[in-house]
């Protein structure tokens, strides 16, 4: 067996060097309807889209000791759809001039045998969850309002439990590296959702404790 490609930055340069710009926030259940109403008004005129996804997070422990993380997602509402494999790089949050969290992002569509393939490569599943909610778009911006549920029995997506009494709200844009102007658009969009919700650049490592 070939050695797995264990490196922290797998894709640099080339056509797929995309960055994800991200702002996060949450909304309490009782304010969800107001938020959805406002988003329907602010976002592109389109059919309201809902989703139910099962995300499995895989780890591969590398030679440097840094675990390598891949996220596999599948739609529970459309079981025949392809799986979605996503790599997310280290978040860059330090730059004050940027209004959003920025991280390297690689998206790949995959077949249903993705879990076996990852297992064969040496990846091990670390945790899984079910996210269900609504998607809105405004130009390049994507707004996902989702309920996060933990899975009580591993692998059984029927048996779940709500994480909290709030919905997670994520505003994101995928853009080639260096296009920091998009974070301006995101900030002004986030302004329009105040005071209902506050979308912020949140450093995940600070939430660890």
């Amino acid at each position: 067996m070939e050695a797995p490609p264990v490196t922290v930055m797998p894709v640099t340069g080339g056509a797929i060097n995309m960055m994800e710009y991200l702002l996060q926030g949450s909304v309490l259940d009782q304010a969800l309807e107001s938020l959805l109403h406002r988003l329907r008004g602010l976002c592109d005129n389109m059919e309201p889209e809902t989703f139910t996804d099962h995300e499995l997070v895989y780890l591969l422990k590398g030679q440097q000791g840094n675990p390598f993380i891949l996220r596999a997602r599948r739609s529970l509402s459309h079981p025949t759809s392809p799986w979605h494999l996503r790599y997310l790089g280290q978040p860059e949050v330090g730059d004050k001039s940027r209004h959003a969290l920025v991280r390297n992002c690689v998206d790949v569509a995959a077949s249903q045998s993705l879990p076996e393939f990852l297992n064969e490569m040496g990846f091990r599943m670390d945790h899984e969850f079910v996210a269900s909610g609504h998607i809105f778009r405004k130009g390049a911006m994507k707004v996902v309002v989702s309920k996060v549920s933990r899975i009580l029995v591993p692998g059984n997506t029927e048996n779940t439990e709500r994480m909290s009494l709030s919905y997670l709200v994520e505003l994101s844009i995928l853009a080639p590296a260096g296009q920091d102007t998009v974070s301006e658009d995101m900030r002004s969009f986030a302004e329009q959702l105040k005071p209902l919700i506050h979308l912020e650049k949140i450093d995940p490592s600070k939430q660890r404790h």
Binding site: A31, S166, R208
Partner: protein
């Protein structure tokens, strides 16, 4: 005295003519302003609609309405003679192309012929408009005066209600704000942190294996493992044994793979209580 009064009349007529001339001139220049503003606005709408922002559209509307207001003021001015009482008579009609006329009208009216004069010197509404007006007045006659009165009253009531609402928007808005205040916060920062941590590295989610040496989530983010009794890092020299390295850290599987370059496997076992985290290196 007849001569004198004729002279006065003549002078008076001359003055009136001059007034009319200046009034027409200033009207023409004002209309030209409106025309320029309109054409530049139309140009923007047709060619720059992708970059056009709503505030600049509003600016354009404001400019137009200002210019139209000036024209209205000019027409209402005492010094402006009543254009209504002026009569325009077509003196010469010709089917031939008139270059001067074409130039004057920016190629819009190239000939001053029998065909177009009735349209351009028309003082009544267009035939279609006239037709519509006729229909409307016919309908108005058909409705009895009582019913009409009722309609008028209903419409007046609607309008006054609407006006009242428009004039007192503050009360309503304050009512809304207080309602929001009553509902308290619509979000909870603690929930935000919990949800972000959950999707970022599975905090609070059911782990698929017991919390142990393998650090979940993003690397290099400070010491986060306080649970496991031991931390162990496996470095594999040869590629053939990687499965062992990936295996559950609780079980030292690398020993369960005999005969496969054991010398290339280096195992470090460190105490987790130590302040040095292996992933920080």
């Amino acid at each position: 005295s007849v001569r004198a009064s004729l002279l006065v009349l003549f002078v008076f007529q001359q003055r009136e003519e001059k007034q009319l001339e200046t009034a027409v001139e200033s009207l023409i220049s004002r209309v030209a302003h409106v025309k320029n503003a309109l054409s530049s606005f139309i140009y923007k709408l047709e060619n720059e609609y992708e970059r056009l922002t709503w505030p600049s559209v509003l600016d354009n509307f404001a400019l137009l309405s200002g210019q139209l207001n000036t024209i209205n003021k000019l027409l209402r001015n005492e010094k402006t003679p009543a254009f209504r009482s002026q009569v325009i008579i077509p003196l010469l009609l010709s089917p031939d192309r008139d270059e001067d006329l074409a130039k004057l009208t920016e190629q819009r009216v190239p000939v001053f012929s029998h065909e177009i004069v009735p349209d351009h010197l028309r003082t009544k509404p267009d035939p279609e408009v006239e037709e519509q007006e006729k229909q409307l007045s016919a309908e108005a006659v058909r409705i009895g005066p009582e019913l009409a009165q009722k309609h008028i009253q209903a419409l007046n009531k609607l309008c006054s209600n609407l006006l009242e609402k428009l004039n007192n928007p503050r009360e309503d808005r304050e009512g809304d704000a207080s309602a929001v205040r009553q509902n308290k916060a619509s979000f909870n920062p603690t929930d935000t942190s919990a949800l972000v941590a959950a999707v970022a590295f599975g905090k609070g989610l059911s782990k698929c294996r017991p919390p142990g040496p393998v650090a979940p989530g993003h690397p290099g983010q400070g010491p986060m493992m306080s649970g496991g009794p031991t931390l162990q890092q496996v470095t594999i020299g040869g590629g053939s044994n990687q499965q062992a390295g990936m295996g559950g850290p609780g079980a030292p599987q690398q020993q369960g793979q005999p005969g496969k370059m054991p010398s290339s496997i280096k195992t470090n076992i460190k105490s987790a209580s130590g302040s040095i985290h292996p992933y920080n290196r």
